[in-house]
Symmetry: C2
Subunit: 197 residues, 2 copies
DNA sequence: ACCTGAACACCGTTCAAGT
DNA sequence: ACCTGAACACCGTTCAAGT
């Protein structure tokens, strides 16, 4: 069952894999259910067995994106080394994800993470912030970060890193290497977080 | 010529105005040329006289967005008051724009600002960064900001503010008032920019 | 359980034709 | 110069029918 094996239970996974490739190559506007079905050699109605509609495919991609992002951030946050180093590592993990899966990150932040829009997705998005908040709380105990609500400080830290990723992906860093921009942003952020109010 | 006056030279402007409304209400996926034409009471082919294709409408919206954003940032940067205050005002101007025209901001950062994609748009996006860089250079002369390439420091400042806007628009600030989050982010940013390397 | 083929309403885009 | 109407190829979604 080598070539026609999509018809044996893994069509859903195949659709998602192909969808992210198309997303990266042609943008969200270029992603069509019929196109995916054509690429995978199934009928145009087959995807409906696995996804209610086109939006459900995009939602599933966003879920896989946040899952991967959280995994990377958690690994960096829980690694060895002093807390300042791990804070910077989390930032670099975020930017790395953003560069590797740029189109997906755009999708992840196009979706509204309000109350209504899918509890799973809302929870996943908040987990990213919680990872940062926990690490900041640890840093506060060590005196490396000013006192204050770690959740709010995490919002600031997240903003810096996400904004940097957006600039990099949008091509607004010009000839500044993204690693250099990341290092500077993290250095400024950590200095600002260290300074008492 | 009150009601049917779209047929007298302002169809282009009417299309853009309606397009931004639809964008805000239904997202970019809900924006169709045929729908706009229907809303304005012209034939479905009429928009083609003013915009080459659907993407041209989106591009025009993005241009108007950056023009407005730059106007607001410039006004804040050139206002009265000490330079620290004006730096924070520029940040608040950015976040204010992001909240008011959230869907448009998403569009503005979906477009790639690489070499190829329209020189006008690339120039407009860079102007935002230049406004910040000039202000930071002034602050450096007054000693309020550390030495270093103002262009690179502007990338960091822009990241913080853009990221915050993305969080706010995405609904990830939870119950934190956006003004509070903005104040904290700007305070951390300015403290970090003040600290010497 | 999973997929197919037909059907319907929608869309972008083009183009000859009208005023 | 500006708009219309028809045409074409595409799309999302649904549904009876097949295996």
């Amino acid at each position: 069952m080598a070539e026609g094996s999509y018809h044996h239970g893994n069509l859903r996974a195949a659709l998602l894999e192909r969808a992210e490739t198309v997303l990266a190559e042609s943008g969200v506007a270029g992603l069509s259910l019929r196109g995916l079905a054509r690429d995978l050699g199934v009928s145009h109605a087959a995807p409906a067995r696995h996804f209610r509609d086109r939006q459900a495919v995009l939602d599933a991609l966003v879920v896989s994106g946040f899952t991967d992002l959280n995994r990377r951030m958690r690994a960096a946050a829980e690694g060895p080394g002093p807390v300042q180093r791990r804070m910077a590592d989390v930032g670099r993990a975020y930017v790395g994800f953003a560069i590797e899966r740029a189109a997906l990150l755009g999708l992840m932040f196009t979706a509204k993470h309000e109350e209504g829009s899918g509890e799973e997705l809302r929870q996943l998005a908040h987990t990213s912030l919680e990872i940062a908040a926990r690490l900041l709380a640890e840093a506060q105990r060590g005196g490396a970060v000013r006192p204050g609500d770690p959740t709010r400080l995490a919002q600031v830290a997240f903003s810096t890193v996400h904004g940097l990723a957006a600039l990099a992906v949008g091509g607004l860093l010009d000839d500044t290497p993204v690693d250099d921009a990341t290092d500077l942003a993290l250095e400024v952020l950590l200095a600002g977080l260290r300074a008492p109010r």
